[in-house]
Structures are given as C-alpha cells and as structure tokens.
C-alpha cells in the first residue's frame, strides 16, 4: 500500500480527534464541560474541512468551514453557555449514568458503523475513504448519548453532535453539500437551538426542573 500524503494523514488525525471527542462527550457528566467538548469537536471539524478544501481544491469548502467555525465553535456554544447560566445549570451533572456500559455499547456501534460504511466508502475518493465510517460512528454515538441522558440540555447537545457527524459525512464523501443547502441547514440548526432555548424556559416554568422524568406522563393506558 502506498504511503498516504501528509494531508491525508492530517485528515485522518482530525477525523480520529472528532471520534475521540464523541466518546469524551459520551462519558462526560458535567453539562458545562459537555459544551466545551462540543465546541472542540466543532473546531476539529473546521480543521479537517479546511484541509479537505485545500487538498481537493474545493474553494466553496472554505466557506462551509468558515460557517462551521462561526456557528458551531462560536455562536452555538455561546448560546448554550448563556442558557445554562440563565437557567442556573452551570454545575449541573447528569446522574444515573453507567459510563463503562455506555462506552462498551459505543465501541460496538463504531464497529457497526464501519461495517455499514464499507460498501459506500469503497467508491469514495482516496483521501477520504475511511472517514465515512467515522462520520457514521459519530452520528450513532450522538444518538446513544441522546438515549442515555435524562436532562433536556444534554439531549440537545447530543442532537447537535449528531448534526456534526452528518456534516462530517457530507464533507468526507462529497466535498460538502451545495452551498444553498448548507446555509439552509445552518439556519435550521440555529433556529432550532433558539426555539429550544425558549422551550427550556417553558419547561422550567412548568416543572421547576429540566429533568425529563417529568415529561413521561403521556402514555397509552
């Protein structure tokens, strides 16, 4: 097997950083640190997107890297920090979480993700071949995080991490979606977080807590 060009190695490096950060988020109990990790994951995405843009000679990817930087590294974390300050959740932790078990399930999911990506990534370009597996793994780990968490804010961070994984999938397989679509997605994510911000206050007002145990009354008798 020929040695990989340096840029390809960098892409793989950042891809593994993104995956590692997903695991870190899965194991993190404190909400504040979770937001830090989310911002870091965004930063890793920006780096890898920039390198893909440079090696693949895809100027429009620079824009989408800039968009990611603005949205996922700066704006969304700021909104989330403000939100937990206003809701006084700064030191809140997630209890009732079995971390070793979650990590084990996470490992299985990663293997599964690589299996799922196999037929598609065989067709992908040389540089980005194994990153699709990582992208699917990030989506699945975020999904796992949403299932295991009981707090509304952490579920939303899981939701955003899932979006990170999808963005990563788009850059790694197709050099990014068309610009108009990416802008639309970014707008949706931003509006979504703003709406959820309003929503958190409504939940708090009603239940005096953001624990989702309160939101389990509607059931089929």
């Amino acid at each position: 097997m020929p040695t990989m060009p340096l840029s390809g190695q960098y892409i793989h490096l950042f891809a593994s950083v993104v995956l590692l950060l997903s695991f870190a988020m899965l194991a993190q109990r404190r909400i504040r640190t979770l937001i830090d990790l989310f911002a870091l994951q965004g930063a890793a995405l920006v780096c890898s997107t920039t390198i893909v843009a440079w090696t693949g000679d895809q100027p429009h990817l620079y824009y989408s890297a800039a968009l990611t930087l603005l949205l996922k590294v700066i704006v969304l974390p700021l909104i989330l920090y403000r939100l937990i300050d206003r809701l006084q959740l700064r030191w809140d932790t997630e209890t009732g979480l079995h971390i070793p078990a979650t990590m084990l399930i996470g490992l299985v999911l990663v293997v599964f993700a690589f299996g799922l990506a196999q037929p598609v990534s065989r067709l992908a370009g040389h540089v980005t071949q194994s990153t699709l597996g990582i992208a699917i793994a990030v989506v699945m780990l975020a999904f796992l995080m949403m299932i295991t968490r009981r707090k509304a804010v952490t579920q939303v961070i899981g939701f955003l991490a899932m979006e990170n994984g999808l963005f990563f999938a788009a850059t790694s397989t197709t050099y990014g979606m068309p610009m108009v679509v990416e802008l639309g997605i970014a707008l949706d994510v931003l509006v979504g977080v703003l709406i959820l911000g309003i929503f958190f206050f409504q939940i708090r007002e009603q239940f005096d807590s953001l624990d989702l145990h309160h939101l389990e009354r509607l059931r089929e008798e």
């Binding site: 989506v139 899932m162 068309p178 997605i185 707008l187």
Partner: protein, 483 residues
C-alpha cells in the same frame, strides 16, 4: 413567477404577523394572507392546466402533475383552516386559555408553517426539500406547546426530538444520494441535487449507495409521515396542540412528508428496481394500518382517536404506493387528497365540540346533535366519510386500493379488511355516542365556524362521485411517473 409570489406571500405574512400579530385584526389578516396564497395557487393551477409543467429560477423550483394538486390542496386547506381558526381562537381567548402574546406567536408561526410546506412541495432541490421539512418541524414545535400545559410541553418535546432525529437520518440519506449523483453528474454544484436532473439519469446511479440511502430517507421522512413504529409523536402532538394546528398537521404536513418519501422512491426505483422500495413501503404501511386500527379501541381522548385514524390512513396510502402500478398510485393520490380534506373537516368539528363541552374526553362529549345540529351532523358525516362509506371519495380510493391488493398482493387483503373493520367499529361506535344522547354543553361566545366543515365534506362527496378531468389527468400522469 407565480411560484415565487406563492412562496413570498406566506413568508411576508409570517413576518408581518410576527410583528403585529397581537393586533385585534390579526386573525383577519391571517385569513387574508391565506386567501391570497390560495388565489395565487389557483392561478398557478390554471396556468399549469393551460401550458403544462414548468420550472423556474434556473430549475430551482418546479411544478409537475405530482406536486401541482398538492400545492393547491395545501393552499386550500390552509385557507379554510385560517377561516376556522379565526372563530376558534376568538373563543379560546374568551375562555381565557390564550392571551394576545400567544396569538401573535400562533399567527406568525402558522404562516411560516405554510411557507415551509409550500417550499417543500415546490422546490426541485432535494437538499432544500430537507431544509423545508426541518423548518416545518421547527415552526410547529412552539405551536404544539402553545397552551404551555405540562402535557403540551411534553408533546412538543417528544415531537421535536423524534422528528429531529428522524429528519437527521433523512439528511444522511440525502448526503448519500448526492454522493451517488455526483459520480454521474460530475461536481456540478447545486445541480446534482435537482430532482429533474437526477430523474433523467436515475438508471445510472450506484445501486448499493441508493439502497442504503433509501433506508435512511424512508425512516427519516417516514417518522414525519407517522409510520409505525416511529409514530409516537403524532397522537400527542395532535391532542395537545390547538385544534387548527391538529388540522393542518394531519391534513397537510403528513401529506408533504409522504410526498418527500415518494419523490425519493422514484429515484431509487430507477436505480435498483421496484422490488426493495416497494416491499419496504408495503411493510411499513401495513404495520401502521394494523397498529393504528387496534390502538383506536383504547383511546379516550377525541383528538387522539382521530390522530390514530390519520396514522391508519397514511399507512393505507403508503401501502398503495408500495404496490405501485397505475391503478394503485392513482388511488393513493386520490386518497391523499380526500383524507386531507376529510380529516381537517373532522378536526374543525371536533375543535368546536370540545369547546362546547369543555373537554377532550369522549366520555364527557354527549348529545352534539341536540347541542347544535350542524355540528353534530358535521362530525357524523365526517366520520362516515373517513371510515370509507360510499358515496364519499374515501370509499372510491379505498375500494381501488383493496381491489388492486386482491390482484397484486393477495396476502395483504385480509389484513387490510380486518384493520378497516376494526377501525370502523371503534370510531363509529364512539362517534354515535358523542352525537346522540342527552346534551350537556355551553353556549359559545362567538358562533362556531362550520362552513369549512361542510365545504370540505362537499368536495369529498364530489370526488367520490365525479373527478374533474384535469385532476384525473394529473393523477394519471403522476401515477405513471411514480411507477
């Protein structure tokens, strides 16, 4: 040109009502914008009848036989729902359930929701279709939680998370589709996601990638259609939101989501053949029909009852699209139309019935005929129509679907008949109890708006007896295109 005006009207309406929605005349403005949107949609329809399908704005938007009738239907139900909601929301305000600030939110979001649905229907770009579907979820989350009660917050949260996750899966499917398209169309920027371009080269798309993509797209958009087993958000969101929102969710949003699934199915079938997509649609369809039919028995809340009925009908339509072929597709398109009209009419009647009796529990709703004959008859006729009684349009489409199933998929016929029978017994029995008997209601401060109910039911009756030739032509052309 009409396409752009059609999109600009609700968007402008949303902005204006978001700023001035607390004004006394906001409900009238809401009706005005909806009426203008409907008028432009009619104009567009007339132009399409005269000149045939068209594209506009460097192929970013398009109208073809498959989406033109859905656009008109969406604009029409949007208008009648705005008419209904004008009175309905006045009464809610009188009863002290909503303040002016909430009504501002409601009116702004209502128009925005219309905009997202029309955008989803008219866009030629599968990426924008996704963006519009997600925006449709976002614009309705705060509508579902409008009453800020514990139950409505829970319903909205469930709606957001389930549909959010679902739609994220659909995005992954869209990315895979784009990946396959790029290999055929080259790195052509936006063009590689244009449905018309993809449709022209669909037989060259990479089959493995498209098969995986379809699974994600079906599960993703299918969540929004309300297909089992990801239907959990639907009854809650319908029951806890204000009734006009239930009417547009059931009557319009589910149709639009199903439209997205079918657009994708056409492309995937071109690449991998009809076998896999058809089977998957039939499976999820029949699962939803059966599950919903049996869940109907256990309902106590009137809006949940009809929400489950929507799941059942979406299942029937999905099953029909899964069978494929000219007749089944024709029937499915007809069923989309008549279900949308009938179900929104039922929700209008249900909305006023719950206002009169002050409860959504079916046990508390009695004697509607004595209370208000028009309301009682509206609910009764609507129920008969949705249960597939002749001569209403639902009977025609269900009859076509059943007879095709007997020929093409004999195994499914007993299951469908069983589900329809169970649903009939459950819903008819309940409605009879609600309509007849001693009445215990209150007078409403504003007379209820029952005209939309009867206009819808009259249209459903008309479609059961005679389908206008241009509509039948569209159904036929669209059915051939869907394959």
């Amino acid at each position: 040109m009409e396409i752009l005006i059609l999109l600009a009207l609700p968007l402008g309406g949303a902005l204006l009502l978001a700023l001035a929605g607390a004004h006394r005349l906001a409900p009238e403005a809401n009706v005005g914008f909806s009426l203008a949107t409907f008028a432009v949609a009619v104009l567009l329809t007339v132009r399409v009848i005269a000149d045939g399908p068209r594209v506009c704005c460097s192929e970013q938007f398009f109208v073809d036989p498959f989406n033109v009738f859905l656009v008109t239907l969406t604009a029409f139900v949007n208008f009648t729902t705005a008419l209904f909601s004008r009175r309905y929301m006045r009464i809610e305000e009188h009863h002290g359930r909503l303040g002016r600030a909430r009504l501002r939110l409601y009116h702004g979001m209502y128009q925005l929701f219309m905009f997202t649905m029309l955008l989803a229907l008219l866009t030629n770009n599968l990426g924008l279709l996704w963006v519009a579907m997600e925006a449709a979820t976002l614009s309705t989350v705060l509508l579902v939680s409008l009453y800020r009660s514990a139950a409505s917050l829970e319903a909205a949260w469930k709606y957001f998370i389930l549909c959010g996750v679902g739609i994220a899966l659909a995005l992954f499917g869209t990315i895979l589709l784009y990946f396959a398209a790029e290999r055929v169309l080259g790195h052509a920027g936006t063009d590689a996601l244009l449905w018309t371009r993809l449709d022209a080269v669909k037989d060259q798309l990479e089959p493995t990638v498209l098969a995986i993509a379809f699974v994600f797209l079906l599960v993703g958009y299918g969540t929004k259609v309300g297909l089992a087993p990801l239907h959990n958000w639907l009854p809650d969101a319908h029951a806890e939101g204000p009734t006009p929102v239930s009417a547009v969710l059931s009557g319009l949003l589910l149709n639009v989501a199903l439209y997205a699934v079918i657009r994708c199915k056409v492309l995937v079938e071109g690449a991998i053949g009809p076998e896999l997509p058809g089977r998957m649609l039939m499976f999820f369809g029949i699962l939803s029909v059966l599950l919903a039919a049996f869940m109907l028995w256990r309902q106590k809340d009137i809006k949940r009852l009809f929400a489950y009925s929507s799941i059942e009908h979406m299942g029937i339509i999905t099953f029909a699209f899964g069978m494929g072929g000219a007749v089944a597709n024709f029937a499915a398109l007809l069923h989309m139309t008549v279900h949308s009209l009938t179900k929104s009419a039922i929700f209008f009647a249900v909305g006023h019935a719950t206002q009169k009796t002050g409860s959504q529990q079916m046990a508390d709703i009695r004697g509607l005929l004595g209370l208000s004959p028009a309301l009682g008859w509206g609910l009764m006729l609507g129920t008969l129509a949705i249960l597939g009684m002749p001569p209403f349009g639902v009977f025609a489409s269900e009859f076509l679907i059943l007879t095709t199933a007997m020929r093409e998929q004999p195994w499914a016929t007993p299951l469908l008949l069983l589900a329809l029978g169970v649903a009939f017994a459950a819903v008819f029995g309940r409605t009879q109890e609600m309509v007849l008997g001693e009445h215990t209601g209150r007078r409403l401060p504003v007379p209820p708006s029952l005209l939309p109910v009867f206009v819808h039911l009259a249209l459903v009756l008309l479609l059961g007896l005679w389908i206008p030739p241009f509509l039948a032509d569209w159904y036929r052309l669209a059915a051939r295109m869907i394959g």
